[in-house]
């Protein structure tokens, strides 16, 4: 495995006006791990992902992806935005949305061809939504929308993925599909950073976890850092049953 971390964030601060959304964040994600980013509302989870991808300006700090600047590592990153960030009434089909994941690789001006259609087909089959290929996207259920986004991430064939709340409001089938996909990605040595909200499932699904509340409270292997104490410091004691949660999860 590579010694260079998949993601290396140093001294990252992001502010909206002069209110910091992220404050002096240092974060290292080794290659090949599944990492959850957990924290209360307004903790800057989505901001962290967007700043890591250079989608919003940084007030300070640097982001390295496999030792490269974000702009140079575009081909190595995959991004699954929040499902609610797009308008699902857009006049297009599932396979079209999935193919959009290949646009970066295609570059400017080039049109998708037979190779891209084949790749799209494979991704749809892998996620188990091949039968929805020509479906208009407004007719999808929430879970189907999320799986469409995952298939789109899959065709990007990235080395490090950033997923923003993929588990938010999905059905059980989709949740299982996402978990299977995450495990497949890890088996292929890919790195995945997932913004996650379900504290219960963190120890089951993720090797590593970052507890975030504007600042990084703790980050590392789940077994080491996912403790009651750290959760309390992250959520400020506002989450009922934190003790029960960690007791159950961690033997």
């Amino acid at each position: 495995m590579n010694q260079t971390p998949a993601l290396h964030i140093e001294d990252l601060t992001v502010a909206f006006d002069s209110r910091p959304a992220l404050w002096d964040v240092d974060l290292v994600v080794p290659e090949g791990v599944l990492m959850a980013v957990v924290g209360p509302n307004g903790a800057g989870k989505t901001t962290l992902v967007r700043a890591a991808l250079d989608l919003i300006p940084r007030a300070a700090g640097s982001v390295r992806i496999f030792g490269e600047s974000v702009a140079r590592a575009r081909g190595l990153t995959g991004y699954v935005p929040q499902r609610s960030s797009v308008d699902w009434d857009f006049p297009t089909t599932v396979q079209d949305v999935v193919m959009m994941g290949l646009y970066g690789r295609l570059g400017w001006l080039r049109r998708p061809g037979a190779a891209e259609r084949l790749r799209t087909r494979q991704a749809l089959e892998q996620i188990g939504i091949a039968d929805l290929a020509t479906r208009q996207i407004s007719q999808l259920s929430g879970g189907q929308q999320q799986r469409t986004f995952l298939a789109r991430a899959l065709v990007q064939d990235a080395r490090v993925y950033f997923m923003d709340e993929p588990f938010a409001a999905v059905d059980a089938i989709t949740e299982r599909a996402i978990v299977t996909l995450l495990q497949e990605l890890r088996a292929r040595g890919r790195t995945v950073v997932v913004v996650h909200h379900d504290l219960q499932s963190v120890p089951d699904y993720f090797d590593q976890v970052t507890l975030l509340n504007v600042e990084v409270i703790a980050s590392g292997p789940t077994a080491e850092v996912y403790s009651e104490d750290n959760l309390r410091r992250t959520f400020g004691g506002r989450v009922a049953g934190i003790a029960r949660l960690t007791e159950e999860a961690l033997p």
Binding site: Y79, P91, G104
Partner: protein, 501 residues
């Protein structure tokens, strides 16, 4: 522009002769028709993306604020030495494009500031810029033909008047020198003014000079009878060239960047993450919208141009849920609406002959003098026609049409009524009270329906062989049994709630 026109003339002359071409171009109606179709085509392409980005009203703002860009560019040109300020200068287009982009940026900045909510920012920016433009026009450009009425309303009927002449044959400039045989010689008094005397005064001195010496363009030479053959000329309306250019520009932009525009519209975050610069592309789109709005000024004005951007794509969206199809249908629909709208402006509504009689009747009954000379603003008529198309699409749309949903609603109601009746039969057949419950002539009393409705539902069920009657009492057929069971199973699974009320 001139070169492009020459090329166009060359091309058109291959399919028609000169006389006919001049007749076509010189005819106000034909050139209005061509211009209208071009505006519709050019605007529908970027309009589709504006609609998808929920920026419909931004078009309205841009189509007004570009005026400020034009005025500022015009004043700047007038102030700079060595540059001629004229209303056809391409620099004005640049000014307009900058103003369009400025509108979008300014609106965004005000939105982000949180001083006012979303659309209010637009309402703040665009009247401001437009007001400045109007003040500048009325204060500073008294001697220029740029009045606010023309900008707001436009008149497609007069685009033919602003034409550029292109000479094809016998175009040589004529230079008359004093030794030319065509030179005419005259005499003039050299000291009359000086001595304040008349030419008849004996002290007057004379010299000979050439009366008609100088340079003549071919047309001037013909008018002065200096040449024996008239130059062959074509008068090409400028509006047609600029609209055609803009239409081609828009088409090229969308063909080249279709994929980038699609992703940038659907999911700008991913587009940015993939390095496809959605912000840059958005600016380019706004530049094109501004240019299109400016080019369409003369023809349709700044108010109605919004309709050209928005209504055809909105209509196309009702008819299809594929972006590529919408991009094809929208310009086609726009062109069709402008052709029929043009006819409508002359009293012909989609070739319906009664329209004329109707107008005549209106004229007689209400006494609208001259209403029968139904000759209205062409651009307004086109917009009405676009809206009519929109209504038709809404009613007949295969996706979310009014008709379709009414039919579906009706079908659901009918289906439910049928299942109700079948269920009733299923429930009571073979029981002791079957004879009274299932007697055909009493059925409606049990269901609480009108006899007519009961009969209609029964008839449909009979036609599909779901019920049969035995001794005046109803019975389910084998198919009827299956249908009931299927419906029950669905209800059990929570699938079919009584959707048809």
């Amino acid at each position: 522009m001139a070169i492009l026109e020459a090329l166009l003339i060359d091309l058109t002359l291959r399919v028609t002769d000169l006389q006919r071409l001049n007749a076509i171009l010189g005819d106000p109606q034909t050139s209005a028709l061509i211009t209208g179709a071009l505006v519709a085509f050019a605007a529908a392409l970027p309009g589709t993306f504006l609609l998808l980005r929920k920026l419909a009203m931004t078009t309205d703002a841009i189509s007004h604020t570009v005026l400020l860009g034009i005025v500022l560019a015009f004043l700047l040109l007038a102030a700079l030495p060595g540059l001629e300020a004229d209303l056809n200068s391409p620099w004005l287009i640049l000014g307009a494009a900058l103003a369009g982009v400025a509108t979008v940026l300014l609106t965004g900045a005000i939105q982000r500031s949180g001083l006012v909510k979303e659309d209010a920012a637009l309402g703040l920016v665009f009247p401001l810029l437009f007001a400045i433009a109007i003040i500048l026009i009325s204060r500073l450009t008294d001697d220029v033909h740029l009045d606010s009425d023309a900008v707001i309303l436009g008149e497609i009927g007069v685009v033919w008047a602003d034409a550029r002449s292109h000479c094809l044959q016998d175009c040589d400039e004529v230079h008359i020198t004093p030794d030319d045989p065509r030179a005419e010689t005259g005499r003039r008094c050299t000291n009359c003014a000086e001595l304040d005397i008349g030419p008849r005064d004996p002290a007057a001195e004379f010299e000979e000079y050439c009366v008609n010496c100088g340079r003549y363009t071919a047309a001037e030479a013909w008018r002065a009878r200096l040449v024996s053959r008239a130059p062959t000329q074509v008068f090409w309306p400028r509006a047609i060239t600029s609209m055609l250019l803009v239409a081609l520009l828009n088409l090229a932009f969308i063909l080249l960047f279709y994929k980038e525009l699609k992703l940038g519209t659907f999911d700008p975050a991913l587009a940015a993450a993939l390095g496809l610069r959605p912000a840059l592309l958005n600016t380019a789109l706004m530049v094109l919208v501004s240019i299109t709005a400016v080019a369409a000024f003369d023809a349709v004005g700044s108010v109605l141009v919004v309709a050209f951007f928005i209504i055809p794509p909105a209509t196309a969206w009702l008819l299809s849920d594929r972006l590529a199809h919408i991009l094809l249908l929208a310009p086609l629909g726009g062109v069709l609406a402008s052709l029929t709208g043009y006819e409508f402006s002359r009293g012909n509504l989609l070739g319906i002959a009664q329209m004329r009689d109707l107008l005549l009747l209106l004229d007689k009954t209400i006494g609208l003098d001259g209403f029968i000379e139904w000759n209205t603003s062409i651009s307004a008529a086109i917009v009405l026609m676009m809206f009519l198309f929109f209504l038709l699409a809404w009613v007949f749309s295969p996706r979310q049409g009014l008709l379709l949903s009414l039919l579906q609603h009706r079908a659901r109601r009918q289906h439910f009524a049928e299942q109700l009746l079948l269920g009733h039969v299923h429930h009571h057949q073979g029981t002791a009270e079957a004879a009274s419950e299932l007697a055909q002539d009493r059925l409606h009393l049990h269901l609480g329906w009108t006899p007519r409705r009961t009969q209609r539902v029964l008839m449909r069920l009979r036609l599909r062989d779901l019920v049969a009657s035995e001794d005046g009492a109803l019975q389910l057929t084998a198919r009827g049994e299956r249908s009931v069971r299927r419906f029950m199973a669905l209800r059990g699974a929570g699938g079919a709630s009584p959707a048809g009320d």
